[in-house]
Symmetry: D2
Subunit: 216 residues, 4 copies
């Protein structure tokens, strides 16, 4: 049975919960058929989070790694295409660090592309009744940092392991507590979307030839 | 035990489901304590929908009437403040009618304000963990039509009965099927929000003195 | 030659300039043919602004009154359809007053509709190359207050005088100074739009029968 | 006197004008002091546009190249940080080609970062009174294609030449003709922004250490 490692972050930006971690934990607890789900909660910090991710990969030896992060304000589940070698923190991370225009990996390539079949994943998530769209930027905060770090680890230390990153929306209770008019998604919906993504990413190595492009 | 009449529309605009009716039916099926819930599904047409609403009021003799409608693209539950005496249809209704700048009620006042405690409702919905915000326009399609028609009926034929309207977002499966990057809300979340609205509207006749204002 | 009274507000919400007043002053300075433009700058306060507007109407005896206000964050010129009898201030006005759910006019109707040909105005503004759209809510701050106050004055004291309100976007320099990713519109563009609105509102008493409706 | 090559595209997506080319031509016609402006209008096609760009670089031997493209729907001028090695066309280009998930350059790196001082440029554009923001994705259409092609040319054939890409909003007349509620920017405003970008990019080789980061 293949092993998939799912990671989510601890809460950040003043939140008490992180929908990424909640969905990862919920999916693991459901023990989907045909796959062994391993999980790791990562600290929302620049220094140390990639090391924690590396330790989880070494421990679980997964065939596939999917890192998950909160994108507060986005309306749908958004598998990410591109990880860039940039740290540019608009707010401090959970340790107070706020790097500006520092590479994730000194001397690393400018970017990595996801090795998940991102368009097949978007199609599968939608087919499960969960709104999804391909994203072309994961930002420049800790989410992009861990996405880049993951792809760099896989490229340099774990050949043959595929991986990628997806953002997920706020939970309803987060938006309600903020008192804002912002999108959210129920944990059940996010978890269903994550299940569809994992199943498709495991089963599919050739992506769909359908456009997911953006004019700008 | 007080009776509350909840109405929702049939699907429109090419959809196969209407989250407003789904939430109304779900809440009624849950039989919340302390209240008798009566429901009516209204046709999404200009001609005849107010008559159907009137018949439901006559049949059920409610203390409170809450009409519910789908606002595809909105991110949160939005109790409406103002019903305007305008029909201006951007698309045809379910009978093919598309009135432009015709009053809902000839000779009626330009608008009615909701007699629900809309700010207390927004606060209660949020306290239930469901995103909500006050809205100052219900548009000019069948939703506004039924809202205006309701308030006119209550003002002219059913003194003492309070009422109002709330919009609710798309369900996740609607947005997934459309393949768009638009907000949605799970039926469970919408239903919880509607329950909070109904409970608060029943219990509260004096609204909260907190701002829900918009600069424009 | 007919006289049109144009009003704009002084700056508010921490701004140093108000695009509404700038456009009103610019259009007056251009002395468009076939019309006498009178102007009044109104204070951005609830108490006293309607009185200042009334004084300007008495002084200039216009055939038409168009009040103009800033809608920071809107992308296009938006003639308003509905003025509601509600003051609900999200921020204090320029005198520090912040009324919540107080009527503009005690005992006044719930709303007035613009007596401008709003759809013909939208069409004419667009034909002049300026983005425009009909709006169904002017908010609940001082802009709506003066719009409602204007329509009440015209209905009760100045029969035969037509009037309405339009919102206009931020100027580019306002958004640049705020450092935000928000829409703006150049003063030249706003002024061209206002000229088209005034010319059409003067020439047209029967509105276009085209939809400008909103589903919600 | 240093030479700067500015490029803009021909119209695409059914438009009759391209604000990018209009601004490039307008700035060149103004002959700003201290710089020689060369221009090239590029075809909005995947096949051939990079060759046309290369020919213009060979002809003009610029110190700096700034490619400019239309981002219809964006509200502000957005210098781009990242060019990705992906062609994924949501609509056909002007020759009818619609590649899906094809690299811009076979075997090229996954991405290039702009060698413009993008944050200093954003700050300078804003200081000129023009709204601006850093963007982390140029999409996957012809704009990203030419941006990637430019950076690849500079990296492989023209060492020492710096370059990058900026998107600009629709012109007001485009949005007016579309009849939409979308942001736009006057040609005068865009041109002022482009002038500030060019001046700053010429004078600055060390970027500002200020955050321009995005959480996601």
């Amino acid at each position: 049975m293949p092993t998939v490692l799912l990671t989510g972050f601890e809460p950040f930006d003043g939140e008490k919960v992180n929908p990424a971690w909640e969905a990862v934990a919920a999916l693991a607890a459901e023990r989907p058929a045909g796959v062994e789900i391993a999980t790791a909660q990562l600290p929302c910090v620049f220094d140390g989070s990639i090391e924690a991710l590396r330790a989880a990969i070494v421990e679980h030896r997964p065939e596939l790694v999917v890192a998950v992060g909160q994108a507060g304000g986005r309306a749908v589940v958004t598998p990410e295409l591109v990880a860039v070698n940039v740290r540019d923190a608009r707010i401090p991370d959970n340790s107070g660090a706020q790097p500006v225009d520092v590479p994730v990996v000194d001397g690393g390539p400018a970017a990595y592309l996801s090795t998940l079949p991102v368009k097949a994943c978007v199609a599968a998530i939608r087919a499960a009744g969960v709104p999804a769209a391909l994203s072309h930027t994961a930002g420049t905060f800790v989410c992009n940092h861990i996405f880049y770090g993951l792809m760099h680890l896989l490229a340099t230390e774990f050949p043959g392991v595929r991986g990628g990153f997806t953002h997920v929306p706020y939970l309803p209770e987060q938006v309600a507590a903020l008192g804002l008019d912002r999108p959210s998604m129920a944990l059940r919906t996010i978890t269903d979307g994550l299940a569809a993504l994992v199943g498709t990413a495991l089963a599919t190595t050739e992506d769909l030839a359908v456009t997911g492009g953006a004019l700008h």
